[in-house]
């Protein structure tokens, strides 16, 4: 753990609604802080270069790259991980749609994909296929060819409109 670092600092934030205070070295990124310290391993590290999106988290409700945010820079903020979305209404619909449309294979990109998709559903109720593709372009998948993911997101958008 990076807590051994001599210049570690105490970081206090909220994780999935629960207060957390833990030492972190300045160089520790948020995804490592959550994975190694809190054992919240749902955020996956696909590149640590800010490109693939597998580590996407919600910071104060907005999607961020867990590998590009430093833990020490998140003092006082609210983090939501995939594990914190078990009871979330949009996430539940997306999970249902993802499995119905076979929108995941190995599942490694899936948590980040769901968090980005949830953001799209929340912000853009009228998004069409093309808009969904542009909005989701910060997340990479190597298995599915994206076909099922686009269908799943559109299915949730249509379902919510129909309600």
């Amino acid at each position: 753990m990076s807590t051994a670092s001599p210049n570690a600092r105490l970081v206090s934030l909220t994780v999935n609604g629960r207060p957390v205070a833990r030492l972190a070295a300045p160089r520790t990124h948020l995804a490592d802080f959550l994975r190694e310290g809190e054992l919240l391993t749902g955020a996956h590290l696909g590149c640590e270069q800010g490109v693939c999106g597998a580590c996407t988290l919600l910071l104060d409700g907005e999607p961020v790259r867990g590998c590009l945010a430093y833990a020490v820079a998140c003092e006082g903020r609210a983090v939501t991980t995939i594990e914190g979305l078990d009871q979330d209404e949009i996430a539940a619909r997306l999970r249902e749609a993802f499995t119905a449309e076979h929108a995941l294979q190995c599942g490694f990109c899936t948590p980040g994909m769901l968090i980005s998709a949830r953001d799209v559903v929340e912000r853009l109720p009228d998004a069409d296929d093309a808009r969904v593709r542009v909005e989701m372009s910060g997340n990479l998948c190597r298995c599915t060819g994206y076909v099922g993911i686009v269908k799943a997101i559109r299915r949730v958008l249509e379902d919510r409109k129909a309600r």
Partner: protein, 797 residues
């Protein structure tokens, strides 16, 4: 025709609600993955676990003169000297093919480094960041040697040798077929092409990674590793570490995609396995993306010189080809350095029937990372080359390319068909897949559109490619290659539990293919046990029968066949116990819907299971003492594997000003025999096509003249994303294999084979009006603009 496949179809058509073979059921593995509760190797934490980082060679080719390791960190840094003194052996993957030159790869470089990224030292610390700090303090002094960067130069006489005791840089030269110049001397049409494909990285979203520890109670080395072939990794570790197989347990947890990159014994696995015993503490290493892009740039770099002869209609008379594969610095375990080039020789003829063929191949050793079979292995390159040739012939004879394809495809009345290299095409209607693709892509409307021109000035083109894909490779061909792994029978253990559930144990490894679901569907088809009560245990050498693992589109055919075989044996044992309990004649007892019936009487599988486990006093005296647990092995009726096939078609728009390509439509017409789960089949095709689009247009690991890799982040190595992959369309044909359970055929690699050929042909169709042609991949804007710039007034050859 497979009666089994046909029978299944009848049942489905009868309106029965099916969860078995053919049903589009939802995947059992989805829920945990959708909740972030999968367990990938990076998610495993053991008490006292420390982390590894590697010092990697910054140069492509050099002698190591010395290491400078600061005194205070000596106990945390290890080099080959430490491993060699402890008896660790280099990785050695020979081929039995005559003339193969053997490379030895010390897991940490010994006296020489042979590619940028080759590990030369390992460091241990409490965290990865601290281990990397240590690695930055290790300094090695090198005497640099001239690197072999280009495979053709490396293959030329006088090139500096990667392995100095070799006579040249050729791992292996192979020759297939005979010279036939005199047979085709009068051929009306001759076309030649030089074709180059680029080096690629495989890039599963999860890199490689491992946790290694010594289990004191089991007295066993335990390696959790992101692999497609745990049993083969165990065999390789045993060879390198000198430990007997039973002292090693290899476990693949959830694995985040493989596509071939996780189908080898990695040097890092050997090092970590030795070091965790040496230090007596658990160790973890996770390949980061830079390590992957630099040290694992290892796939699909080929060069072809092809001449084709045809008659005036475009009927192929002969193919004469030389092919080079850049195999990198070492031969990998278990597939070796020669599998890819040898495969080129045997599969270049594709799905076509023609009389004369000759192919020489060279596996060239260079100062780059060792080559690993990437999904489709040589097929994506071979299809790219061969399908360009078909289009070139079509131009030469002035016909539509699809017509020339149709003229040369093996027709259905010749099935099963032994082609010119001895491949046994099992079944299907290749021309029909092409005809459906021509209709489905609406060729006529594309031609009209080309005549009208685009309002935005872009050039529209249409392309086709047809291929067949050997899956579930048999024993003879691998025995022939003489590499460290030969697939034989695939085994499955099946056990009915006391409460009527079913456990399946398979040595194969599922990492996205959905085998926890599809194998359950097969078992359900035979036994009728509900899917939710069927559990697959896989990827753990301690719990499963031996398997060569997941590669070569083999899992559904081989392990699926073993699941069916094991379940049928269980069904027989259930019937015998049921006959006794129902006081019926054995011949009168049938199994359906999870119940054994005789006349009006029936008994559930769960009741029989309770009897076996909890009320054995009720069992017949002659009951099989093997109980409700069997291990069954399976091979298809033919050792030649299965042949799925497809035609892909695409329409593109090329912007001649900036060289950008947009895919307007993409259609796949495929036949993988009986589909166990059509959703999973389609998912494999979609994903394969996406990777093929990457191969065609984007992905490339370039090297400079010094052998330095130039793409080390995902900003340089471009993967296709949401906006690059179109809404791919699929049409299914379903010709059951005559040789396999249910008539299934392997198709996992298929989607990736044709896209680069299709898109190249479509782009060339678009560029035709400007007299330009592209032959090399990736087909980048720069390549398209260069082709347009170089286009003369003469139409391309």
């Amino acid at each position: 025709m497979s009666l089994q496949g046909a029978a299944y179809k009848t049942q489905a058509a009868g309106g029965r609600i099916v969860f078995g073979v053919g049903a589009r059921v939802r995947r059992k593995e989805d829920d945990r993955l959708l909740r972030g509760r999968g367990r990938f190797v990076a998610d495993i934490a053991l008490v006292g676990m420390r982390e590894l980082a590697f010092v990697r060679s910054p140069v492509a080719h050099a002698r190591i003169l010395s290491f400078d390791i600061p005194e205070q960190v000596r106990g945390q840094v290890f080099t080959w000297q430490d491993l060699e003194q402890a008896g660790v052996r280099p990785i050695r993957a020979a081929s039995g093919l005559p003339g193969f030159k053997v490379s030895e790869q010390p897991p940490l470089a010994a006296d020489k480094v042979r590619f940028v990224g080759e590990p030369i030292a390992v460091t241990v610390a409490d965290t990865r960041a601290e281990a990397e700090d240590l690695a930055s303090q290790v300094v090695a002094e090198f005497d640099e040697l001239p690197p072999n960067v280009d495979m053709l130069a490396a293959a030329a006489p006088g090139a500096p040798r990667v392995h100095e005791h070799w006579s040249d840089n050729i791992f292996l030269e192979t020759r297939v077929g005979q010279s036939f110049e005199k047979d085709v001397a009068a051929a009306p049409v001759t076309v030649s092409r030089s074709i180059r494909t680029q080096r690629q990285c495989i890039v599963p979203l999860e890199g490689k990674g491992l946790v290694a520890h010594w289990d004191r109670q089991a007295e066993q080395l335990v390696l959790y590793t992101a692999t497609q072939m745990p049993h083969i990794v165990r065999s390789g570790l045993s060879e390198c570490l000198g430990l007997p197989l039973e002292a090693i347990r290899v476990i693949a947890p959830d694995v985040g995609g493989g596509f071939g990159w996780k189908g080898l014994l990695q040097p890092e696995e050997v090092i970590a396995a030795w070091l965790c015993v040496h230090l007596d503490c658990p160790l973890r290493w996770m390949e980061d993306r830079r390590e992957h892009l630099v040290a694992a740039a290892n796939a699909r770099e080929h060069h072809y010189e092809i001449t084709a002869y045809a008659d005036a209609d475009g009927r192929l008379l002969g193919i004469d080809a030389d092919a080079w594969v850049d195999a990198g610095a070492y031969s990998i375990y278990p597939f070796s350095a020669c599998l890819e080039a040898a495969q080129v020789g045997s599969i270049l003829p594709g799905p076509y029937d023609f009389p004369h063929y000759r192919c020489r191949t060279f596996s060239v050793c260079t100062n780059k990372p060792p080559i690993v079979p990437f999904r489709g292995v040589a097929r994506a390159n071979v299809c790219f080359a061969m399908e360009q040739i078909i289009d070139a012939i079509a131009r030469a004879v002035g016909r539509e390319a699809w017509e020339v394809r149709l003229l040369n495809l093996v027709p259905p009345e010749k099935m099963p068909f032994d082609n010119i290299t001895g491949k046994h095409f099992d079944s299907g209607d290749y021309p029909e897949s092409l005809r459906r693709a021509v209709a489905g892509i609406d060729l006529a409307s594309v031609r009209r559109r080309q005549l009208q021109g685009e309002p935005d000035g872009r050039l529209v083109g249409v392309g086709f490619a047809t291929y067949c894909e050997q899956g579930a490779h048999g024993t003879a061909v691998y025995h022939g290659w003489g590499i460290p792994m030969v697939p034989g029978y695939e085994q499955v253990q099946a056990r009915i539990t006391a409460d009527g559930g079913l456990e399946l144990r398979a040595g194969i490894q599922s990492h996205g293919q959905g085998m926890e679901t599809s194998f359950a569907q097969v078992a359900h088809e035979v036994l009728g046990i509900p899917l939710e009560r069927i559990r697959l245990v896989h990827g753990d050498t301690g719990l499963t029968p031996y398997s060569t693992g997941t590669w070569g589109s083999r899992s559904m055919v081989m392990t699926g066949g073993a699941v069916a075989t094991a379940c049928r044996r269980l069904a027989d044992r259930l019937r015998r116990i049921a006959a006794h309990l129902l006081q019926a004649r054995l011949d009168d007892v049938t199994l359906s819907g999870g119940k054994l019936r005789s006349g009006q009487a029936d008994i559930t599988i769960a009741e029989i299971a309770r009897t076996w486990y909890l009320a054995p006093q009720l069992l017949p005296a002659d009951v099989d003492p093997g109980g409700l647990e069997v291990t069954a092995g399976y091979k298809p009726k033919s050792d030649h594997g299965t042949f799925s096939y497809a035609t892909h078609a695409a329409v593109v728009a090329v912007d001649a000003e900036v060289g950008l390509v947009e895919i307007l439509d993409y259609l796949v017409v495929e036949d993988a025999g009986t589909m166990v789960n059509p959703a999973i089949v389609e998912g494999q095709i979609f994903g394969g096509v996406a990777q093929g689009i990457g191969t065609a247009l984007y992905e490339c690991s370039p090297y400079d003249d010094a052998g330095q890799p130039l793409a080390s982040t995902l900003m340089d190595y471009l993967l296709p994303g949401f906006t690059e992959v179109p809404a791919i369309r699929i049409e299914h044909m379903e010709t059951p294999s005559p040789y396999t359970e249910f008539g299934v055929k392997g198709l996992g690699e298929g989607g990736v084979i044709a896209p680069s050929a299709v898109l190249c042909n479509a782009i060339n169709d678009a560029l035709k009006a400007r007299g330009a042609i592209v032959t090399d991949q990736p087909i980048t804007p720069a390549r398209i603009l260069a082709a347009l710039h170089n286009a003369g007034a003469e139409p391309p050859p």
